[in-house]
Point group: C2
């Protein structure tokens, strides 16, 4: 009775990325007891730290007897992470616990399973973490035949059909926006934040008409600031529109006449939805964190069936 307090978890879900660790201690009914957000991402720790970081965060939720499964997705499974979880290869369903890597732990109360990422051989591409969000989207949309767009530093467009990841393409648009806006000559021209919907749409339109001209349309922002006092907030939004618009245009074969689901946080997901709408497609938005948790739950359910 004392061990069955409301706070003891049945298992834990973990999204362990480069910059953060997100943890959900889960009860037997599939509900999260809480949500733990930590800055102990892969970039902040070394291999030997993973177990102690996990225990420090989960201690209050650990059962006093038996082991607690922890299902992990994300960069913790990369070569530089906790333990390498080899990629599944397209076409494939989002990896389940059957393909996971069991990580040995000193503490016997933990049973850690890292989910693999997914690779594509030609054209070469990789994902780690997004496959679990895709599993979450497929859990809610099992018959999806379309494309899942996951905006981020490295945005992914993933074609899914019959519960499988068929193929995918990663664009460096997010990272390019960050570098160009903060490090290039455009840093003098762009506001640090703020949004202008019409300027974003203008960038999308320029990119739709001539997606190849991205590198010249960018410099034109600088010139317009010098010659015509272009507003810094409009400049920032137009740069975003140029990059997202060029990406959406390049990804057209994957979304044209297909169902599109965007998995993301509010701001970026809305921007991608707006760009798709301007370029002729409707998209539904799925919450990124909920999709991750749903994917980890789907993987745990699979573990439960096997055990």
């Amino acid at each position: 009775m004392s061990s069955q307090t409301t706070k003891t978890a049945t298992w834990a879900a973990a999204d362990w990325g480069t910059s953060h660790l997100r943890l959900w201690p889960m009860d037997a009914t599939g509900m999260a007891l809480t949500r733990i957000d930590s800055d102990r991402g892969m970039g902040a720790i070394v291999k030997d730290d993973y177990e102690s970081v996990l225990i420090a965060q989960l201690e209050p939720y650990l059962p006093t007897t038996g082991t607690m499964p922890v299902v992990v997705c994300g960069m913790a499974g990369s070569r530089q992470g906790w333990a390498e979880a080899p990629y599944s290869s397209t076409p494939c369903p989002p990896p389940s616990l059957a393909e996971s890597t069991k990580v040995p732990t000193v503490n016997a109360r933990l049973s850690v399973h890292i989910l693999p990422g997914v690779k594509q051989v030609d054209p070469a591409d990789v994902m780690r973490g997004e496959e679990t969000q895709i599993a979450g989207v497929l859990a809610a949309n099992p018959d999806l035949d379309g494309v899942i767009c996951l905006p981020g530093t490295h945005t992914k467009w993933v074609s899914v059909s019959d519960g499988q990841i068929e193929r995918f393409t990663t664009f460096m648009s997010g990272e390019a926006f960050h570098l160009i806006s903060s490090e290039s000559v455009l840093r003098h021209t762009l506001a640090e934040d703020g949004w202008d919907e019409a300027a974003f749409a203008k960038g999308c339109e320029i990119a739709r008409k001539d997606p190849a001209a991205l590198l010249s349309a960018m410099f034109s922002l600088r010139a317009e600031a010098l010659l015509a006092d272009l507003d810094p907030v409009a400049a920032r939004a137009r740069l975003s529109g140029l990059l997202v618009g060029a990406e959406v245009e390049a990804a057209r074969p994957s979304w044209s006449e297909k169902t599109v689901i965007i998995v993301g946080e509010t701001g970026m997901a809305s921007a991608y939805a707006a760009a798709l709408s301007l370029q002729g497609a409707d998209a539904k938005i799925a919450n990124a964190e909920k999709s991750t948790l749903a994917g980890l739950c789907a993987a745990y359910a699979h573990l439960n069936q096997e055990v």
Copy 2:
């Protein structure tokens, strides 16, 4: 007789850019007495420093009586430079001394003339310094009807006809290469130097077939490094090929069936010539520094006619 030593200059030519100052004390026959290279570019000094920097460098060459004209091109003429030399507007010939800005100096032995840059209103674009290289190319090729490509941090493609700059387009390819190779996730994948001609050609070919896919073809380098041990030197050259190839393809309307002259230093000029050749055009290469000096000499000749 004592004032007419071989070292006294008749005038001086100056290319005053963001990161460097290049000076040529010139004799009456149009020959450079020497070439002075200094790191006192616009980025390293403030407005009040310009005159003293110039005098420190030119002191041994100054005449004891009378004034010495100094003809300046480059960023010294920008708002953040010595004195703003307002842009000429396309279509226009490369600006001459008639459009230059005379800068007041404390020292009466100097007579400083800053050449303007050139602007284009729509699409917005600007150049400062390149117009003088163009003047140099036109001095050697007065009947040129074609395009001049000036590779650099911000590469320019300039359509010229009847001695005029008709229109131009600036691409941020050089700066994008620098940022992506040194600051993005690709920094783990790319060698710091080295060259692979076949990998550069492969990048050009990928870009020629699908110039819109630049941001995904870049990420593929990272994935190929992870999955297939892509050679870091080949990765570096292919990234360059992707950027230059996409730029050359986007600039196709300006060079197709035209004479192309590339103004540049050996490495970059050869890479652009190779990309153009792969994409179906022959280009001649003109030395960048010689073109600058020839342009400054053309401007000085014009001053001479007027005085």
